[in-house]
Symmetry: C2
């Protein structure tokens, strides 16, 4: 395994830990971290139920927290790691924030931005998908299986 | 002028007043109101500069406030009025919130959702565009003309 993949998996594990925190709160288990120059500057998980607010996706909360941490609303030198492919809302927010790199775990075929809003990220942003995809997906599947019981 | 158009213009004037408040704060002048059963339950204006947060668009703040006002995160019986065509992020949020009707003023050709994310609103949502479009657009143009001075 190469070094970059190693680093990506390390940060995705942190996003997964956030997703697990969401799960334990009865939230759809999606977590995100924002990394700047090798340092985690924000971490968040989905809180839509807790806050009663559809805008409280992990990525949105992480972007707001990262901007507060850096003292500026643009994040071109940041990478955002998220366990599930972002939706159009979150990809739109990443575009406005000029997030430089997006790394996600499992695909979201129904509501993912690659299907619904493929041009919303910043034109210079790079994207890596499929990091720890199996674990990210398994957590989602376990959550919805529990829900149906 | 028919009755519905009259009502739409009345609520769009409130959104315009919010946009003017944004202008006076040095913010890109976009305002929004959320109406439920003929009553305004939320109003907001763009605060991205003030809050240093790209997610603080008028529509996002209005959706969050409307959900808090109603005590539930879904807003199918609500209409959202906004002075400028929503972006992909805001349209995505409207989709998640199941906003029943979207009314906007002037088109946003570059970043508007109709170009970048046309399928993000709720499938049952209806859309009315062009309400007080001239005034909504004139306010935006005045702002950017001021900025260039």
């Amino acid at each position: 395994m190469n070094e970059e993949r190693n680093i990506d998996e390390r940060f995705m594990r942190m996003a997964l830990a956030e997703a697990e925190a969401a799960y334990s709160e009865g939230e759809i288990p999606i977590g995100a971290v924002v990394v700047c120059q090798g340092r985690v500057i924000a971490r968040a998980h989905n809180q839509t139920e807790t806050l009663g607010d559809v805008t409280a996706h992990a990525e949105m909360l992480a972007i707001t927290a990262a901007a507060a941490a850096l003292g500026g609303k643009y994040l071109p030198d940041c990478s955002l790691y998220v366990t599930v492919e972002p939706c159009a809302m979150c990809a739109g927010a990443m575009g406005w924030a000029q997030i430089g790199r997006v790394v996600y775990g499992t695909d979201e075929e129904k509501r993912g931005y690659t299907r619904l809003a493929p041009m919303t990220l910043h034109p210079k942003a790079t994207v890596t998908r499929g990091v720890l995809a199996g674990e990210c997906k398994a957590l989602m599947q376990a959550f919805f299986r529990d829900k149906r019981r």
